[in-house]
């Protein structure tokens, strides 16, 4: 009982929200490209580059806010190259995405060495993180106040972005067009909506959020840059995007699942479970979710077929149209 109490308390919720934020930001970014019909495996690299340049910008300007802008700009540059190659040159999305990830990995380490003459990680050098926001009167609100107060700003941005994203896809022209381009490009073309323009816009918007996610990693979640510090969060985001189909609500649910498994596994560590196994938990959860949900996708297709049959049959009495027996179903 005592163990359970130590495991599940407000601190766990706080930890979950903290670990959810970075992956939520990058997954929300990825929803733009996913919904525009682009498979963007390059999120990981955009996030990593964003994290690195956020640190560089902060060290050289002294302001984490300028650092944040630098991180976003760097991720945007990578997103632009992605769009250029994938949309204009029609290169293979997987190849370009992977190459950009490798580019980001190599570039951050090389620049780290070139600028600071060191490897591994960088902290100090006047690096300051984003300030922690304390919500007034939070203290008086007890556990709830504890839960909602005391995060760095990008945590709030990540969670507040979810309803804005829902609004964006439902109520704005751009959001609508992104969905149309991804779902039915012929319809967009027929109405004179430029598919290329929309896909560029979606890629760049994606870059902004991947950059924010990176900046949050290096200036909010921690205050340092480490080689490959995105550590697969971009890929997990892609897994979430695959089974959420880019829907903000489902993205939030998926990210909370990872945040929770991450936070819970970090607690397991305090009980003496090997850190290697603990670190593997989020990846295993991502894989399990990916497989489980692709398995479930099948019955849905069958359901849709049945539904469309039902529609067709409702036009006239079913008896005449239906063969006596179904020997084999597709």
């Amino acid at each position: 009982m005592e163990i359970l109490e130590r495991m599940f308390n407000v601190a766990l919720i706080v930890a979950t929200l903290r670990t959810t934020a970075p992956i939520l930001l990058v997954a929300l970014g990825g929803s733009f490209t996913t919904r525009a019909g682009i498979f963007n495996i390059g999120l990981e690299g955009q996030m990593l580059l964003g994290a690195f340049f956020a640190v560089i910008g902060t060290i050289f300007s002294g302001s984490p806010w300028i650092g944040l802008l630098c991180g976003v700009a760097a991720a945007l540059a990578l997103a632009f190259i992605f769009a250029l190659l994938v949309v204009t040159f029609r290169a293979n999305e997987v190849v370009v995405g992977l190459a950009l990830n490798i580019l980001a990995g190599g570039m951050t380490v090389s620049l780290l060495k070139a600028i600071f003459g060191t490897r591994g990680s960088i902290f100090g050098h006047g690096l300051v993180g984003l300030p922690v926001l304390r919500i007034p009167f939070a203290k008086e609100m007890g556990w709830f106040g504890q839960m909602i107060s005391g995060y760095t700003p990008l945590v709030y941005v990540a969670f507040l972005a979810v309803p804005l994203f829902i609004l964006f896809y439902k109520r704005t022209k751009l959001g609508l067009y992104i969905r149309v381009v991804g779902e039915k490009p012929e319809a967009a073309e027929a109405l004179g909506i430029s598919i290329a323009k929309i896909r560029y816009t979606a890629s760049l918007l994606c870059g902004v959020f991947a950059g924010l996610a990176g900046a949050h990693l290096s200036l909010g979640y921690t205050t340092m840059f480490t080689e490959n510090m995105s550590s697969g969060r971009g890929f997990m985001a892609v897994a979430i995007l695959i089974f959420s189909a880019g829907d903000p609500k489902r993205i939030l649910a998926g990210c909370l699942l990872f945040g929770f498994s991450d936070a819970l596994s970090l607690r397991l560590q305090t009980f003496g479970v090997s850190s290697y196994l603990v670190l593997a938990v989020p990846y295993v959860v991502a894989l399990a979710a990916l497989f489980a949900l692709s398995y479930r996708a099948r019955p849905r297709i069958i359901q849709e077929t049945l539904a469309s049959m039902g529609r067709a049959l409702s036009v006239k009495p079913p008896s005449a149209a239906e063969p006596p027996a179904l020997a084999r179903e597709p």
């Binding site: 996913t34 019909g37 498979f39 495996i41 190259i81 190659l85 040159f89 029609r90 290169a91 293979n92 999305e93 997987v94 190849v95 370009v96 992977l98 190459a99 950009l100 490798i102 580019l103 990995g105 190599g106 570039m107 380490v109 090389s110 620049l111 780290l112 060495k113 070139a114 003459g117 490897r119 550590s231 697969g232 890929f235 997990m236 892609v238 897994a239 695959i242 189909a245 090997s274 290697y276 196994l277 670190l279 593997a280 990846y283 295993v284 991502a286 894989l287 990916l290 497989f291 692709s294 398995y295 996708a297 099948r298």
Partner: protein
């Protein structure tokens, strides 16, 4: 033949553009590109020992490259070769230090188990790809992280040898993969790699199954119409690719390190995938691209000593080359084939 020449010259042009961009990056980290190039060349080919060092680096890239070619040829992306390499490396090491066997048998058992471990590691993503079209790019990438962490766990929490270093116990000498020359760790793995590459080329161009795989990659509807079982073939092709990836790990542990440790063979799996992509899925071409990447890696060791540049600058160059080539292939294809740009990746 003309098509071939124009394709190759296009590829060469793309590489030149990438190298020019790479030179700019090197300038950006305040080094002379020429100096870096000469250092790389010196480090890769400066003396016989360095040449063998290059071959040592080439071996795992080549084998992983062949593994990638196998999946690419059938239109599949096994990006999880890194993970299969780690699993295979650990599996072979385990056979190497846990059992006593006669020399040749011990090596074969180790490599066999390594291949099996790679195969087993890819089996679940392969099954879901074949049966439910689950995106294998993401599933195999995520599996990489798990493989690295699991092998680290096994190494450090279960099998850690006495003493400080985070290693497994060394393998018995009977499990050593023999070296090619007395003065270098370059070993028979290189020969195995060359045989695999040539074998894969033969398989794809001369055998009925290889033909079926190639057509599945080129036009799955045509293959299906011709009576090829796409699901079954997808599953087994991924398994084969994983087995070769596992074998690469086994060769690395039995031939080079003679033990398993954290950070066992970093990036070889990814380099293999890139080498295969650059060779357009052709196993013989992968020999050349793997040698190229092996030389870059080996040269970069000296780079770190002689210049202020980091050896990761070579991964930047590799990435630039892939980007340039991927754009260039499609420019050419678009000019001749209006169906280009057809996307496999849609969800």
């Amino acid at each position: 033949m003309n098509d071939r020449i124009s394709a190759l010259s296009g590829q060469a042009l793309a590489i030149m553009i990438a190298l020019a961009l790479g030179a700019m990056v090197i300038l950006a980290v305040s080094e002379s590109p020429l100096h870096v190039l000469l250092t790389l060349l010196d480090g890769a080919f400066g003396n016989p020992e360095r040449i063998l060092g290059t071959l040592l680096q080439t071996t795992p890239i080549l084998i992983c490259g062949v593994a990638a070619c196998i999946s690419l040829r059938g239109g599949l992306f096994n990006i999880g070769i890194e993970g299969q390499l780690f699993m295979g490396g650990f599996a072979a090491t385990w056979i190497g230090f846990s059992f006593e066997m006669p020399p040749v048998l011990h090596v074969m058992a180790g490599l066999g188990f390594a291949a099996f471990a790679g195969l087993a590691w890819v089996a679940i993503p392969a099954f879901f790809r074949a049966r439910y079209q689950t995106n294998e790019v993401v599933s195999t990438i995520l599996a990489n992280y798990v493989a690295v962490l699991i092998t680290s766990y096994l190494t450090i929490n279960i099998f850690k040898r006495a003493g400080g270093a985070p290693d497994t116990p060394p393998i018995l000498e009977s499990a050593y993969l023999p070296q090619l020359f007395s003065f270098s760790r370059a070993n028979w793995g290189l020969v195995i790699g060359l045989v695999l590459a040539i074998g894969a080329h033969f398989f794809f161009t001369r055998t009925a199954r290889g033909y079926a795989v190639t057509e599945m990659g080129a036009n799955p509807k045509f293959a299906e119409y011709g009576g090829i079982d796409i699901k079954k073939q997808t599953f087994f092709l991924m398994l084969a690719s994983g087995a070769v990836g596992g074998l690469a790990g086994g060769i690395e542990s039995l031939g080079v390190h003679h033990r398993f440790m954290e950070g066992f063979a970093p990036g070889f799996g990814f380099d293999g995938v890139i080498a295969a992509l650059l060779a357009n899925g052709n196993p013989l071409g992968t020999i050349v691209t793997a040698l190229f990447f092996g030389a870059l890696r080996s040269g970069s060791l000296l780079l770190e000593v002689d210049t202020t540049a980091s050896r990761e600058i070579i991964t930047v160059i590799q990435a630039l080359i892939i980007l340039a080539v991927s754009a260039q292939i499609l420019v050419r294809r678009r000019a001749t084939d209006s169906s280009a740009g057809e996307r496999r990746w849609k969800f």
